[in-house]
Symmetry: C2
Subunit: 189 residues, 2 copies
């Protein structure tokens, strides 16, 4: 997606040739007009998938999932990452390792919000090592729901998350793919 690449190139800050900080439009300040363009693009790429729900992860997946959901006319469910008082008795859960934070955390979805007849689109802001997506896949599997696609805003191709995703058969669409970072410069695929 051209306008997304331009935003990343213009406003993305590279840290340690590994982390791309896009707080000015994606992860702290949210550029809602851009999000709408991304939502339309996801709709175009997954239009025949008969999606019934969008599944994402708090906090940074919520915004893009919500704007995108408007184009599919479906609800969003976000997996809870932080201790939630009074979640539910029956939950689906998975463990996710964060390379950025160097620790494992649990993600959870209350049992009542995913059904066996659901056709799920997973949406997330970044694909790095594939940990978060794999956690969400596990949760959908526990619910017996079918995941029909994965939509990512920025894929860090050099971290090989795509190859680590448990379901190689799934349609995985990234709106921008970063192939490499060399001397602080971002190279797109």
């Amino acid at each position: 997606m051209q306008i997304l690449q331009e935003k990343i190139r213009r406003y993305g800050q590279v840290i340690d040739n590994r982390i791309i900080k896009v707080d000015s439009f994606l992860n702290h300040q949210l550029d809602i007009e851009l999000f709408n363009e991304m939502g339309k693009e996801f709709k175009k790429r997954f239009k025949d998938k008969k999606i019934t729900k969008i599944l994402t992860l708090e906090s940074s997946g919520i915004a893009i999932a919500c704007i995108t959901a408007q184009y599919f006319h479906v609800p969003v469910i976000f997996a809870k990452k932080h201790e939630a008082a009074n979640l539910a008795l029956h939950t689906y859960q998975a463990e996710v390792y964060s390379f950025t934070k160097g620790k494992t955390y649990k993600i959870r979805v209350a049992g009542e919000y995913l059904q066996i007849q659901d056709r799920i689109l997973i949406i997330d802001d970044f694909l790095a090592h594939g940990q978060a997506v794999n956690g969400l896949l596990e949760i959908a599997e526990q619910a017996g729901a079918e995941v029909v696609g994965i939509g990512i805003v920025i894929e860090k191709g050099f971290q090989k998350g795509r190859e680590k995703i448990k379901r190689a058969d799934l349609q995985l669409e990234s709106l921008a793919i970063i192939e490499a970072i060399q001397d602080g410069k971002i190279i797109f695929k």
Copy 2:
């Protein structure tokens, strides 16, 4: 707001005559069509305020802030609540006490996203004791930005948050106000 009251009455779960759990449409599964109605309503109530940014708090404020922002054509900034790697050197911060969790946490916004010329609408899902709104007000004040309104989805009137808000002069709009919970029954104002 009639349709919101109906949703709360139909799907809200009351815990200990004090907590209203609305996970099925507001805090875990997100009813995006309802969010759009709420966004339109906020626009109607704050239409002459010349708002330049919406400020909210992760995680549960993000979704409603983003959908609402579409009607104002402004970006959203969400205060970070959880440890964020690489946030920024210069941040505005405030301490917020959570009655639900019984502890104080820090909320932070990177310095570069709030300016002195900004006219801010604060959006949040719940108003209970007013702690989160006061924290956001403090952050805006540190930035020298003007808060011109506060938009809340559900106000728990019986917890008197409205009276505890530091800026009694501000326009505060709640889409549903719960006056009391009696024997598990929700009574709206």
